[in-house]
């Protein structure tokens, strides 16, 4: 196929919905980076101010502006990949640069190179002594193509396979195909003759709430969009899964893409929406192929009539998982979060009523309609309705995605389901909500996995990422990497987050990047004051969540903080 010209690329995309990101990707894929000429052509083609376009492109860390750009490897240096030797991989791969957690903590270490997602390993003697670069094999010796893992077999009580909702069928071979999906009742919920209000009633009664972490009741959101004046309405699936330690949406989309598509089509019917987007994070190129194939299959089968659904690929920005940043990103604007109110249910994509739901939420819709609201409600323990997928990773024997009944004791998940921290080790801390919920120390592992319990301890379940750190780990270092991540991903719109994440990161830094007091009392006062202002005044969840890292560090690991400061002083 001949290389497409600028004009051909612009003609291909300019009349498509949400054209900016796919058009930039088309140039990026063609040239390996975004040249000045490419940006001039895009600005002209889409009639955008060039300065705006330039600024917006620089917001996304995967858009390269210079060679080797996209063709150079990007190695995940998320919290778990650091435990697995990403530093060695970064040294071993020519031109490699680090990227934040790429959502493969159950089978690390993800490496993006060109259009490919590879998995790198430093295990099995591929490397000599750490830091010794002599005699390293070529990159291909420790990079391989490997599909993302399925969730482990359901570890609940024997014969209790019914405890799952979104994972109930995911392990069935062929599930990702239309035929495989339909074999166990797929698309029956969509084709069943239910009125929009019947659909919304069932979803409301089921207690399904936003599984991306915000926990807003799904039925109420759909009702608000159905009631809101203005057309066309839109269903947006938030598949930006950027939270470190979260990889559940990837598993759902890779192995059960039709469940998501059916959920979106049902949401469209319930709300009267005629267009839909799956906003997929850049780091999941394989998933993009799977989703586009599945959408084509569903379209051909006539299942998406009247619902124009397409996938849009992000370009590397954690904050685009925040729904209003995501909407701005889709619209080709600078991805700052919007001020709310108004909310997306009335003023979403292109200021029209819009549902923004997480992948897991949408995947739960069809099973709930098939099995009923009561079935879903009673999957939870006690008063809690339903299930939550937990992405469990780090120092546990069996990392992976586990669909737990809401209210499950954390200890059960850690020790019984995932095999504990390994022989001779104990759990020192876990993170909650990926990194956003901060840390829970060993003495707090008696919590149950539900928001009321976790919030009472100053944390939250959020998107359901839990990273485990055993007793050999340096928790100040973990906290520093977490805060450096938040600083890297802060959008720069609001002062408390933009400066606060940076200052907290500097205070946790062991090396020359550090600054701030070295005495414990003034250090603590500064860190607490910054954190309090961030929690109270930040414009979005990034800034309000980041200080939970320092709060929990001070709460559970004061002696490690003291050691950190003593070392800095020395």
């Amino acid at each position: 196929m001949p290389t497409p010209t600028d004009d051909e690329l612009i003609q291909r995309w300019r009349s498509e919905p949400a054209p900016l990101l796919p058009l930039l990707h088309a140039f990026h894929d063609r040239d390996g980076h975004l040249t000045d000429d490419a940006l001039r052509a895009v600005a002209k083609g889409l009639r955008m101010p060039l300065a705006d376009l330039f600024g917006t492109v620089t917001f996304y860390h995967h858009f390269a502006r210079t060679p080797p750009g996209q063709r150079a490897p990007r190695v995940c240096d998320g919290p778990v990949c650091r435990l697995r030797g990403c530093d060695a991989l970064l040294r071993a791969l020519p031109d490699a640069t680090p990227m934040p957690c790429a959502g493969r903590c159950d089978a690390p270490i993800p490496v993006l190179r060109g259009a490919e997602l590879l998995v790198g390993t430093t295990a099995g003697g591929a490397f000599g002594a750490q830091g010794d670069e002599r005699g390293w094999p070529p990159p291909e010796a420790f990079l391989r193509l490997e599909p993302s893992p399925l969730p482990p077999p359901y570890p609940g009580a024997a014969g209790d396979g019914s405890g799952e909702c979104v994972f109930a069928e995911i392990r069935t071979p062929g599930r990702a195909t239309l035929a495989g999906y339909r074999a166990t009742g797929g698309y029956e919920a969509l084709t069943a003759a239910r009125s929009p209000s019947e659909i919304i009633d069932v979803i409301t009664q089921s207690g399904l709430a936003g599984r991306g972490g915000a926990g807003f009741p799904t039925g109420r959101k759909w009702q608000a969009v159905a009631d809101a004046p203005g057309d066309p309405k839109t269903i947006v699936c938030n598949a930006d899964e950027g939270e470190p330690g979260c990889f559940k949406d990837r598993a759902l989309m890779d192995h059960d893409p039709h469940a998501l598509i059916e959920g979106m089509a049902i949401a469209a019917r319930a709300t009267g929406a005629t267009r839909g987007f799956i906003y997929l994070r850049y780091e999941y190129p394989d998933t993009m192929v799977i989703l586009e194939r599945a959408i084509a299959e569903a379209k051909t089968a006539g299942l998406l009539d009247g619902f124009a659904l397409c996938v849009r690929r992000g370009a590397g920005a954690y904050v685009c998982g925040e729904e209003t940043s995501l909407l701005n990103s889709l619209e080709g604007k600078h991805p700052f979060p919007r001020n709310r109110p108004p909310y997306p249910v009335t003023h979403g994509y292109e200021d029209k009523p819009t549902v923004v739901n997480n992948v897991e939420t949408l995947c739960a819709v069809a099973p709930i309609l098939r099995h009923g609201a009561t079935w879903y409600r009673t999957l939870g323990l006690g008063d809690h309705a339903g299930t939550k997928v937990i992405s469990l990773s780090g120092d546990v024997v069996r990392p992976g995605n586990y669909e737990v009944p809401i209210g499950l004791p954390l200890r059960t998940l850690l020790d019984e389901w995932a095999g504990g921290p390994g022989p001779g080790r104990s759990v020192q801390a876990v993170t909650m909500a990926g990194l956003s919920g901060g840390l829970l120390g060993a003495e707090r592992l008696d919590v149950t996995l539900d928001e009321p319990c976790l919030r009472s301890h100053g944390s939250f379940l959020g998107a359901g990422g839990i990273m485990v750190f055993d007793d050999t780990r340096d928790m100040v270092a973990v906290a520093h990497e977490a805060m450096a991540f938040f600083a890297h991903e802060s959008c720069g719109k609001c002062f408390p987050c933009r400066i606060g994440t940076q200052r907290l990161s500097e205070r946790l830094s062991p090396g020359p990047g550090g600054s701030g007091p070295t005495e414990l009392d003034p250090w603590t006062t500064e860190v607490v004051d910054i954190g309090d202002a961030m929690k109270a005044t930040s414009a979005c969840g990034l800034g309000t969540a980041a200080p939970l890292i320092t709060d929990s560090l001070l709460k559970y690991f004061p002696e490690q903080v003291a050691r950190h400061l003593a070392a800095r002083k020395a």
Partner: protein
């Protein structure tokens, strides 16, 4: 005697809220910040410019709303009936001070010359009001001044930049130029043009709007700054820009008897704070050494020579008189310069109308 009965429009009937325990009515659509301004509250802010869409960036204007867990930015939150708002509590003041301390940790300069721009004292004033010393939150600075941008009008002293983006927003929302934008993200955000170049290579028209809205003097009026060292106090004289027919109100800044700068007037009916490159920066001719200091008349050989006012005026009068005598009243025509003061423009039209009896008079500002 019948009193006229004033019935409020139905939509405003319930538009009453409470601010710091005091009932206050509001116009639907008004933000809490706007109400607080009317009520004379001193709610601090750094990213607010009443001509621009509310942004919610600096978070200094947060207020407590009863029933809400977290404070809200008053600039982006609309007043609603029954809302109970507190604009100044110990907790809010503590957070505001922390936020200012964070800002000052990046932008430590304690004094900024007011010649830099209309809004240039905003951060300095808040710093004083909250007693921020700059001792806390030491760390890296993100600002990078563009010393390479040698344009004669706008100093890009980004070491003072606090990333409030008022410059970017005024350029887009007020001017429609979209010459500058935000590069990168987080702590590393920078104000940029396309491809991070010089203003002269961008869509910038040097209107100076960014300078006048900048709350720290990071963007500064290079022409006015030439007079920074002059000891006299700055005086402002309201006038109207003579350059074109729009009639933009300006404040002429002077030190002693020297014109040092020109600023758009925010309350100017025609311009509401806007001005163009000529109106703001093109005033050097006023005190230029090449200006005529004495009348000149042309000798018989065609060259100009200095003359007394009497001689020059006699010569001019004679010329006018001859033209009128030989060719009638429409044989004369006067055009006044946009660089002349309004008083001169008035005088010239008076002269031509009264002495020649014609309306053949014009001004280059009309074009």
């Amino acid at each position: 005697m019948n009193q006229p009965i004033q019935t409020p429009a139905p939509s405003t009937l319930a538009a009453v809220m409470e601010m710091d325990g005091q009932e206050v009515s509001f116009t639907p659509g008004e933000t809490i910040y706007e109400v607080s301004q009317r009520m004379g509250r001193q709610v601090p802010t750094l990213c607010y410019d009443d001509r621009l869409d509310p942004f919610g960036g600096c978070r200094l204007c947060v207020v407590e709303v009863e029933g809400l867990r977290n404070p809200v930015a008053s600039c982006t939150t609309k007043a609603t009936p029954g809302m109970k708002v507190h604009t100044k509590t110990p907790t809010l003041e503590r957070h505001r001070k922390t936020l200012l301390e964070l800002v000052v940790s990046e932008n430590p300069k304690a004094t900024i010359d007011p010649l830099r721009g209309s809004a240039s004292q905003e951060l300095v004033q808040l710093r004083t009001r909250y007693g921020v010393t700059g001792e806390r939150f030491a760390g890296h600075h993100s600002g990078q001044s563009r010393t390479d941008d040698a344009n004669p009008f706008i100093l890009r002293d980004y070491d003072q930049c606090i990333s409030c983006y008022r410059c970017v927003r005024v350029c887009a929302e007020q001017e429609g130029d979209y010459a500058i934008s935000v590069r990168g993200r987080g702590f590393e955000t920078k104000i940029t043009t396309e491809f991070d170049g010089l203003l002269q290579d961008s869509a910038c028209t040097f209107c100076g709007q960014c300078v006048q809205t900048c709350p720290t003097g990071a963007l500064a009026d290079r022409k006015a700054m030439r007079a920074q060292a002059d000891p006299e106090p700055i005086a402002a004289t309201r006038s109207v820009c003579p350059y074109c027919g729009v009639g933009c109100s300006v404040d002429l800044l002077s030190k002693g008897d020297k014109l040092v700068g020109i600023r758009p007037a925010r309350d100017g009916g025609a311009n509401l704070g806007a001005l163009c490159v000529k109106g703001q920066f093109a005033f050097d001719f006023v005190q230029h050494e090449d200006r005529l200091r004495t009348p000149l008349v042309r000798g018989d050989d065609g060259t100009l020579r200095p003359a007394s006012w009497d001689e020059a005026l006699d010569r001019a009068a004679a010329g006018f008189a001859k033209a009128l005598h030989d060719h009638g009243r429409h044989s004369t025509y006067a055009i006044a310069s946009g660089r002349a003061p309004h008083e001169s423009a008035y005088a010239i039209q008076k002269l031509i109308r009264a002495t020649s009896g014609t309306n053949y008079v014009d001004n280059c500002s009309r074009a």
